[in-house]
Symmetry: C2
Subunit: 232 residues, 2 copies
């Protein structure tokens, strides 16, 4: 299997952009997978395309998941509410929010695994983190460990001893630390999008979990946020 090639889950958000920058710095040539799953923030896919160009990635595969698979506040036409009071959730509260999308990272990583095995790659990058995050179970280290274990027994490469590595370089970083790293590596944050409910003209809503975490992160990192927010 190739040692300097990797597969990355590239959403178009800030975290996957910084993950791509870190992987490139490590010397990886990346191929990206991006998903359209009727997310309300489908706009992020346009940003993922811009990032593919910005990072000069070798290839991007865009994958469509039928609307019927997921029930979540994040999915178009869902009646569930994205907003929950304008406070950032903390891990301690342990209340998985309505924006949780059932088994989303499980599906995304499964595609990454199939693609990686098909093209002979063992390193799979995902920009998950559990410091400033929304409490999703499929972002936690115990999930990635269990997924890796499953990949080892469920694939030909795994059975033959070529272990896949699910690489999560942001897992234990705060959003401010992620932003600082990205800034130091020259990531153009204007090519990232972090809002669950983009407003007219693509403006960031400024009040969903994702926007709140982004704003706080840029403020703490003392980096200018190029995101254009809705003015209320």
């Amino acid at each position: 299997m190739s040692k300097n090639k990797g597969v990355i889950l590239l959403s178009g958000g800030l975290d996957s952009a910084v993950t791509a920058a870190l992987a490139k710095e490590e010397g990886f040539q990346l191929e990206a997978l991006t998903f359209r799953y009727n997310q309300k923030h489908l706009l992020e896919v346009d940003f993922a395309r811009k990032l593919v160009s910005f990072f000069n990635l070798k290839k991007q595969v865009i994958i469509d998941i039928p609307a019927e698979i997921f029930q979540s506040a994040l999915i178009s036409k869902s009646n569930l509410k994205i907003y929950e009071g304008g406070q950032i959730r903390t891990i301690e509260k342990n209340d998985i929010p309505a924006t949780y999308v059932p088994a989303r990272n499980i599906i995304f990583l499964s595609y990454a695994l199939a693609y990686a095995e098909s093209v002979g790659v063992k390193d799979i990058f995902i920009g998950a983190n559990i410091v400033d995050y929304s409490g999703y179970p499929d972002c936690r280290p115990e999930f990635f460990e269990a997924f890796s274990q499953m990949a080892q027994v469920g694939t030909k490469a795994g059975v033959k001893g070529d272990n896949f590595k699910i690489k999560t370089p942001l897992l234990y970083l705060s959003k401010a630390e992620i932003i600082k790293k990205g800034f130091d590596l020259g990531v153009d944050f204007s090519l990232t999008h972090s809002c669950y409910q983009p407003q007219a003209g693509g403006l960031l809503c400024g009040r969903c979990d994702s926007c709140l975490i982004r704003k706080k992160g840029f403020a703490e990192a003392k980096v200018e946020d190029p995101g254009e927010y809705l003015q209320e």
Copy 2:
């Protein structure tokens, strides 16, 4: 979560048909997921549709996986050869054949998991078995155990204690036993398709692993095989 509803992976093959019959006999109302992944035997999807009607299933979701994800002899336009000498592989030989599709069951089960969690179902049926099979790693009990463990830590329902069950009622049955069970339950085997490389008019090729295992199974079960094979 619902106790008498289940999600089934329905390919249109013999095994998934008998699995559906067994699940129905247990009292489950089933919703089916069927995949188009540029398989050479895309014809099986037509049979899956017929089985949905035969079993009077509540719903079927058909999911498309892009051609770029899988490299395998089973995929259209692949140069890899399906045939390998006309002998049925045995587990002991431990040579995973060219018809292995990387992480296929991992993707299929991930979709089933997402859909099950979305609709509040915990039982997921898959017609895998390891007696008369092709040696695929993602059909083995250790894989299903690892997948279940991963599902438990990676989903909201799992974290809350509502464990998903990956149900594999055929896992330890021979093909002949599967066919006998299906026969006893009234499965119409003419609505199943088991060939990796269907010939003109939908005839079964009679010499791929899947056909060889099917023919042997019907012969041993002393049940008439309604499959129409290419005459050579």
